[in-house]
């Protein structure tokens, strides 16, 4: 029962998104090994793969929901949670990690009240741990959307988040 954490952000799928999803699944009907491309395109449509979306995929493709979920949780490219308006990525690559990005990451978890891969309930921030973004000279590094923050210390976090919080 890994993490029993329930997904807290309500599902806001639109009729257009559902139409696009069903058409896309239909285009893959009868195709062997279609689950991966279907999941990839579904994530393009919705930004993530909530139970509502996975249930439609399972039903339309006539496969158990668990099989869909098993694949969705196996690959790190799939997300079960939506991304926030501001998408925070903290580099946990070797250089950043040695320079203390683990502490930065933990501070963000604590501050936002979410864990890796999740989104705050108001949909403002989401948090992901990422691997090397090629800015090791600036270690430890995090990005918020397109903004890059380097040579970070834990006590800078409050100030940076305040810039984004409306």
């Amino acid at each position: 029962m890994g993490s029993k954490e329930k997904i807290s952000v309500p599902f806001n799928g639109t009729a257009e998104q559902e139409k696009a999803l069903r058409e896309m699944i239909n285009a893959h009907k009868g195709q062997q090994g279609a689950l991966m491309p279907v999941l990839q395109q579904a994530q393009e449509i919705y930004g993530y793969l909530p139970i509502e979306v996975q249930s439609i995929i399972a039903e339309e493709m006539d496969i158990p929901l668990e099989k869909v979920y098993g694949v969705a949780t196996f690959y790190s490219q799939f997300s079960l949670y939506p991304k926030g308006k501001y998408k925070i990525s903290v580099c946990l690559g070797t250089a950043c990690y040695v320079k203390g990005s683990g502490d930065i990451f933990n501070k963000l978890c604590e501050k936002l009240g979410i864990s890796d891969g999740k989104c705050t309930q108001d949909g403002v921030f989401s948090l992901d741990a990422c691997r090397c973004i090629g800015a090791c000279g600036l270690a430890p590094v995090m990005t918020i959307n397109d903004d890059v923050y380097g040579k970070l210390t834990v006590d800078q976090i409050d100030g940076i988040l305040a810039k984004y919080a409306e």
């Binding site: 029962m1 890994g2 996975q54 098993g70 790190s76």
Partner: protein
């Protein structure tokens, strides 16, 4: 043929034989954990590794088919490298296992424990490190999942998906975080799990177990206010002996009854009576449907796993289900109505216990419309395994018990009843009575319908009965049921009467039966061996058609009237409804 050497000794084996099978054919047992023949050949657990000339590393023998390219190679099955690797694999598994052996439901019958002993694991904490901790899922009525004992072998997943076509459990996440669970980590009870228990009998460890209801039985037995009665399903007597050292397929009916009496039950009944009663009602219902334009094909309703499957996956077939309660429920219903009246007992004081080869029976007793006397027909359903526990706890030396007989009028079963426990048995029993009825009630009407016997997943037969052509189908294993029902839906198959049993091979191979390790399952056809016990009991019975049962005759004469009567409907029939649990 391929010529190979095993530990230096030359052998010639058929091309395509796996190394593991080649060794087994020649007297060498290679240990396994994940391999289940036909459904789980994934080479994942690395217990079956062997050394082979020319191979870069150790080879998983369960998934290595021998070919002409292996000509002359030598296979080492117990070299130091092999034994060391197997032992290390076990120690790595233990590093993420709670090792709660003393309090484990599978202690003494656990494949992991057995292998640790066999391979000389002398240090269980050799690889100390991170351990996953899981909440136990107690949500279902019939079983619980304790992932702290799971070794991720995926045998349960294979049973659920490949045998049953259900797939509500699978592997979630990745690497060390991998856990065997349901989609979105739902509780099992939120899913369309049908409670068949095939995952439990596939599990090598104590990760999956039936809910143990024996304490409730002990409590009832100790209560002087209660009249505690028990019934045993046909298939139980075909497997119970395995737990007490009898060869598989030995019928142990007499000792089973003696054991139940010594456990303290006030009356020992036999579900065979309920089975005969089911045939009376079901054959009557079938003839009525045929003659009066009812919904066809009619489908049997004895298997509660199948009923749950139908309600969740094929609700459009609900009108096809026979309205007959299962034999367990019929026995229970007659106990709390007819028998209670006859004995002058308030049905509220009766505790009705059933011993079943089945975990879905634990679910069935709580269904709606299964309470003829206004209270549940059956109060506690325990599995064959739980009866074994009770017999052992009471210190009964099973093999030394005398043979005893169950108590009429809910006891004397015909040969037709006892074969209910094997795939095709319900159909054959129904045909014995239906043909007799449709051909002028001639005592010489046919007894054996061999076309519907055997362990094949889907069987079809056609009979000419009194000028009427009756097409029947017999299915076991829900993946096969899915296949056949889709064919019926598409008009590819036409038939009048279908028998469906949830478990492959029928109740003899039920999810509540004595657990046989993979080592036995992979090389013995358990379904066929246990079925032999039932067919031998049928053959030995002087009464082989349900309508010939004196107990059944008595109950109709004194209480129910005719099959299909208003009273019979009130007491012996039930209803179904579609479910929308997560699939």
């Amino acid at each position: 043929m391929v010529n190979i050497k095993i530990n230096g000794v030359e052998y010639s084996v058929k091309e395509g034989t796996t190394i593991l099978e080649a060794c087994r054919e020649n007297g060498i047992r290679i240990p396994t954990l994940c391999w289940l023949k036909d459904i789980n050949a994934i080479g994942a657990c690395r217990i079956c590794v062997v050394e082979m000339t020319g191979a870069r590393s150790l080879v998983a023998s369960c998934v290595y088919p021998l070919s002409k390219f292996d000509e002359g190679k030598n296979i080492l099955t117990h070299s130091p490298a092999v034994l060391e690797s197997r032992k290390m694999t076990l120690q790595l598994l233990l590093s993420n296992h709670n090792m709660d052996c003393l309090a484990c439901s599978r202690s003494g019958n656990c494949e992991l424990q057995q292998l640790c002993k066999e391979l000389g694991v002398d240090d269980t904490t050799y690889f100390e490190g991170a351990k996953n901790e899981y909440e136990i899922d107690y949500s279902s009525k019939h079983m619980y999942r304790d992932n702290n004992k799971c070794i991720s072998c995926r045998r349960c997943i294979a049973a659920c998906d490949k045998l049953q076509g259900i797939g509500v459990i699978g592997a979630n996440n990745r690497g060390f975080a991998t856990s065997i669970a349901c989609a979105f980590d739902m509780d099992l009870a939120e899913t369309a799990c049908v409670s068949c228990g095939q995952c439990i009998v596939a599990c090598p460890t104590g990760a999956l177990s039936e809910k143990d209801d024996t304490d409730k039985v002990w409590q009832a037995l100790a209560d002087p206010e209660k009249v505690v009665v028990v019934q045993t399903a046909p298939a139980v007597r075909a497997s119970l002996g395995e737990a007490f050292g009898y060869p598989m397929g030995t019928p142990v009916e007499g000792k089973m009854v003696a054991a139940l009496r010594r456990l303290g039950f006030d009356a020992v009944f036999d579900t065979n009576f309920g089975a005969d009663l089911t045939i009376m009602e079901e054959s009557n219902e079938f003839i009525d449907r045929v003659q009066n334009g009812g919904v066809l094909p009619m489908i049997t309703s004895c298997s509660p796993g199948w009923i749950r499957f139908c309600e969740a996956y094929f609700p459009e077939f609900i009108p096809n289900l026979s309205s007959c309660k299962s034999p367990q429920q019929m026995n229970g219903a007659i106990t709390k109505t007819y028998w209670a009246q006859k004995k002058g007992i308030d049905p509220k004081n009766i505790v009705s216990v059933s011993v079943m080869p089945c975990t879905a029976k634990k679910f069935e007793i709580g269904r709606d419309d299964e309470s003829a006397a206004g209270i549940p027909d059956v109060d506690i359903a325990i599995t064959t395994r739980e009866l074994v526990k009770m017999i052992n706890r009471a210190g009964l030396r099973f093999a030394e018990l005398p043979d005893d007989k169950a108590d009429s009028p809910l006891a004397k079963g015909t040969g037709a009843a006892v074969i209910f426990g094997a795939t095709g048995g319900v159909m054959e029993a129904a045909l014995r009575t239906a043909v007799w009825k449709l051909t002028g009630e001639n005592a010489d009407s046919p007894i054996e319908f061999s076309d519907v016997r055997g362990t094949e997943g889907i069987k079809m037969a056609e009979y000419n009965v009194g000028g009427l052509t009756v097409k029947v189908a017999v299915v076991s294993g829900l993946a096969n049921a899915k296949k056949l029902l889709n064919q019926v839906k598409n008009g590819e198959v036409e038939c009048h009467f279908i028998e469906i049993m949830a478990c492959p091979g029928g109740c003899v191979n039920g999810g509540g039966q004595v657990i046989q390790p993979a080592d036995v399952r992979n090389f013995t056809d358990i379904r066929a061996e246990r079925a032999k016990a039932l067919y031998s009991l049928d053959e030995a019975n002087t009464l082989r058609k349900s309508h010939e049962s004196p107990d059944v005759k008595e109950v109709y004469a004194e209480f129910l009237g005719e099959p299909g009567s208003h009273k019979a409907h009130e007491i012996l029939h039930t209803s179904y409804k579609a479910s929308n649990l997560s699939k």
